[in-house]
Amino acid sequence: MLAIMSRIPYVVLPLLIALPLGAQSGKKKNPAIGNPAAIEAGRTLYMGGCAGCHGQGGQGGRGPNLKGRGMWHSLDDEGLFKTIQKGVPGADMPPSNLSEDQLWQLVAFVRSINAPAVEQKIAGNPQAGEAVFAKAGCANCHQIRGRGGLTGPDLSNIGGTQTAEDIRENISDPAADWNESYRKVVAVGRDGRKVEGILRNRNNYSMQIQDAAGRIHLIAIGDLKEYSLDRRSPMPNDYKTRLSRQEMDDLVAYLSRQSMRPPETDSEKGSN
């Protein structure tokens, strides 16, 4: 097919093939992975021995960030286990004296802070969460599979791209997100005509606005008399108090299931 591949079949192709197959090795997950009790036990161990370098939330510090996608994507569970067990020679990370069970609890905790929500076990009820989603008015701004408003970020794949913890934080404290995108903007042309919508991008020379109907407006800054940008999140900031703890759990559970791809199961992996 592709000549560039065909010319080096003996060397490159086995490597190319090995990558996807290696990622589907058919190994059974350790029972600690995704187990809430093991995760909690792992959290305790983490706070006692790891957080000093890797940060309380895994955000990194003296040691690497454990929440970054690159970290969980490049290491499978066993790789993580061995890294914790043996440490990183030549770096500051020491080997561990923990038992195998405790090491797996730590792996379960690290996985819990960086695996996408759809891969995590979530406490709430997704069906009940769907009702909360409707009642709370989320669909006024957010779409799931093409249904809902256009002024907020799409949630169709939120469970596949964010951790449950991040989803919960985004609902509870939307102001913590300082990304300018999806913020309200009003641009006025030099003849007084106005475009209102949400900001998609801007710099000193151009601006891209999406209006409430979803239309994209491409604007040269030099064509504008003025514009205003409300950097405050348009998302209500009271869900933390407006929703009960159970409702919040259910909503997080519902959103965690919104994924382009279903969670991977052992049967999906390594079937041949």
Partner: protein, 536 residues
């Protein structure tokens, strides 16, 4: 003037901004709505603002660096001033006048990474394939996910790299993987729901016509990938799709026969997927000469009467003219001088083989090389000159074979091919007159033999392409004279497009890691800053 333009843009994107089938049918204009510009695959734009008279003052207007990209093969589409480009499992929507990102969509959980050739547009939707063979529909305006459909298994040796093709109410998609064993197919999906409407395999099932051209054990793994999308004739309601090599690529002892429908052009009914005809360019291919090059649909007189033709420049060293209604072979012309595996083709288009040109365990020098005399480097047809423009490769390679028992998906291709130090090869952009097959001009290029550049024809009389040194080049359509070039600094593995926004014509192409857009030089004017109010 600029404020007027702004207001037109600001108020012009209404429901009429939907990409309709009829819009794609009209072919390229201000927009570039499908991979080959139009359903006929001519890659010819009627835009004339950039012409032979002024192309010398073309300058870069913007560059969009694609994060983490390497070896981009994306082919931009443009609609209403918005450009859509892809990288592995990723789609970007860009402001086509500035290169600024409007939205990005990533499939972070795809089970495979790989090259991607671009999107299809229809209605308010963008369609593209992930490397692990999911067809994805996004809202064109927002990048919101509407549906996705898995249509193949990487566990069966498949992956996806082609840009889908949107026609009427459906989206066509293909699969890749012929080099390590798989069974190719073209599939049609409802654009609105993702429902699979039909699937046509490019290797027959057991007992089906054509299966007698195979050893039974390879029917499930014989290749014939469909990794480049096709063209479409609305009057005949036929799709024209090309197929990839037979597997194992370089050893045919386990697959005695012609190995239908590998290395072929197939005509499929859009409604049903039924194969109306096929034409196999390289029966029993053992040189990895996929037929992936655009079938270009041209209506012109042939032997004194109007005919619906399809032109196809093939990796095996010939370019073909067929009747696209019936598949009848009309003529084959040598694309390149370095061609030694066949002396020509017979009256039915079957190659007349030179004995002893199969790969051998010790290695056998054969021309063209494994890259082919051309490849997916899109050709173009200019209706003004009436000529066919093809990026060709003069190269011979050393082909080796292995009679080892084929094992699918184990990286085994039955041998290999490597550069012959005595014939390192070079690119030549050539213009052919389809009426006679005569070469009208040629433009040889220097370089390391790493590029895969296609062509673009324009009514301004300029042929755009890229050379093997990372230059975007502009040549005179009638003479082949070099009019302009720009060093993009990276290998180019895709083809240029052209579009117009607010009355200004642009030419865009991807390099290995970035998307570039060019336009005519305009001196910058002092910027009048607006009053800006930030509410925090």
């Amino acid at each position: 003037m600029r404020i007027t333009a702004f207001l037109l843009i600001a108020t012009g994107l209404t429901a009429a901004a939907q990409v309709r089938h009829e819009d794609i049918l009209k072919g390229p204009g201000n927009d570039w709505l499908t991979y080959a510009g139009g359903f006929d695959g001519k890659r010819h734009s009627p835009l004339t603002q950039i012409s032979t008279a002024n192309v010398g003052s073309l300058t870069p207007k913007w560059v969009f660096h694609v994060p983490k990209a390497n070896g981009l093969r994306t082919h931009p589409l443009v609609h209403d001033g918005v450009m859509y480009v892809t990288a592995s499992n990723t789609v970007f929507a860009l402001d086509a006048t500035t290169g600024r990102q409007i939205w990005v969509w990533r499939d972070t959980r795809a089970k495979k990474e790989g090259v991607n050739r671009g999107v299809a547009l229809l209605g308010d939707r963008v369609f593209f394939s992930t490397a692990d063979v999911h067809l994805v529909a996004l809202d064109r305006r927002t990048g919101n996910l509407l549906w996705q459909k898995k249509y193949g298994d990487i566990e069966k040796g498949l992956f996806a790299s082609a840009a889908p093709l949107a026609v009427k109410d459906r989206v066509l998609a293909g699969v890749a993987g012929s080099d390590t064993g798989m069974r190719g197919y073209v599939a049609a999906f409802s654009a609105s729901t993702g429902e699979e409407l039909w699937r046509t395999y490019t290797i027959p099932g057991r007992g089906e016509p054509g299966s007698e051209t195979w050893s039974k054990e390879l029917l499930d793994w014989g290749g014939a990938g469909t990794w480049l999308s096709g063209t479409y004739d609305p009057e005949l309601n036929l799709l024209y799709w090309t197929t990839g090599n037979a597997w194992p690529d370089f050893y045919g002892g386990n697959r005695v026969g012609d190995n239908l429908y590998t290395s072929s052009l197939i005509a499929l009914d859009l409604e049903t997927g039924k194969m109306k005809w096929y034409f196999q360019f390289t029966p029993h291919d053992v040189h990895d000469w996929d037929a992936q090059s655009w079938p270009v649909l041209v209506d012109m007189p042939w032997n004194g009467r109007p005919r619906k033709l399809v032109f196809h420049a093939n990796r095996n060293g010939f370019w073909y003219v067929l009747d696209r209604t019936t598949g009848e072979f009309l003529r084959a012309t040598k694309l390149v001088d370095k061609l030694d595996w066949a002396t020509g083709v017979d009256a039915k288009g079957r190659p007349i083989l030179v004995p002893g040109k199969d790969p051998t365990p010790a290695g056998n020098v054969v021309c063209p090389g494994v890259r082919g005399a051309t490849n997916w480097m899109s050709p173009s047809y200019n209706p003004v000159t009436g000529w066919f423009y093809i990026m060709t490769v003069e190269q011979c390679d050393i082909f080796t074979s292995s009679a080892k028992e084929p094992e699918p998906m184990k990286g085994f291709s039955g041998g290999g091919a490597g550069k012959n130090p005595k014939t390192p090869g070079y690119f030549v952009l050539r213009a052919f007159d389809p009426k006679t097959g005569e070469r009208k001009w040629e433009y040889p290029m220097t370089g390391p033999m790493e590029a895969w550049p296609g062509t673009l024809s324009t009514a301004g009389g300029v042929i755009f392409s890229a050379d093997d040194e990372g230059n975007l080049v502009a040549l005179h359509a009638r003479t082949g004279q070099a009019l302009w070039h720009f060093n993009m600094g990276e290998t180019i593995a895709t083809a240029p497009i052209t579009y117009s926004v607010r009355g200004k014509q642009y030419v865009a192409i991807a390099s290995a890691t970035a998307v570039f857009s060019f336009g005519l030089f305009e001196p910058a004017k002092p910027l009048a800053q607006p009053a800006v109010k930030i509410i925090e």
